[in-house]
Amino acid sequence: MATETTDAAHGAEAASPGMPQLDFSTFPNQIFWLVVTLVVIYLVLSKVALPRIASVLAERQGTITNDVAAAEELKQKAADAEAAYEKALADARAEASRIAGEAKAEMQAEVDAAMVKADAEIAAQTAESEVRINEIKAGAAEAVKEVARDTAKEVVAALGIDIDDKAVEAAVATQVKG
C-alpha cells in the first residue's frame, strides 16, 4: 500500500513535467520573449548589420572592379608597348636586310667585274700560251726530224752504205709521219 502510494506519487511527479514542450503554462512567456528577441534581432540587423555588410561588400566589389579596370588598362598599355617594340624591331630588321641587300649587290657587281676582267686576262694568257706551245710543238717536230735524219745518215754511213741524202730524208720523213 505504502509502496504503491509512493510509486504513484513518484509517477505523478515524473509525469507532471511530461513533455515540457506541451506545458502550456510556459507558452505565453516563451512567445513574449521570442517576439522581443525577434524584434531586437530584426532591428539590429536592419539598422546596423545588414547595411554595413552590404556597404562593405559593395565597396569591395567596387574596389575589385576598379582594380580589374586598372589592370586591364595596364595590360592594354603593355600590349601597346609590345606592339611598338615589335614594330621598331620589324623596321630595324627591314632596314638591316635592305642594307645587307645593297651591300651584297654592290659586292656582287664588283665581283662580277673582277671576274670578267680576270676571265679576259686568263683568255689572253691562254691564247698566248697556245701560240707558244704550238711554236714549241712545231719546233720539236722539226728537231725530231733533223735528229732522225742526222742519225739515219750517220747510221747509214756507219754501215758503209752509200746513199744520197735525199733518199734518207724521204725515208725518215715517211717513218716519222707513220
Partner: protein
Amino acid sequence: MEGDVVQMGAYIGAGLACTGMGGAAVGVGHVVGNFLSGALRNPSAAGGQTATMFIGIAFSEALGIFSFLVALLLMFAV
C-alpha cells in the same frame, strides 16, 4: 492495474510509431542518392539544384519527425 494496461498500450504504440522513422530514412536516402546519381551525370547542373535537394530532404524528413512526435506524445502526453 488498469492504468498499466493503458500505459503498456501507449508504450507499444510509441515503439510502433518509431518504425515510421525508418521510412523517412529510406526517403532521405532515396532523395540524396538520386541527386548524386544525377549530379555525377551532369555535374555542371548540380550546383543550382542543391537547394531543391534540401527542400526534398526537408519534406521527406518531416514525415519521420511526425512519427517521432507521435511516439513522444504517446510516451509523455497520453
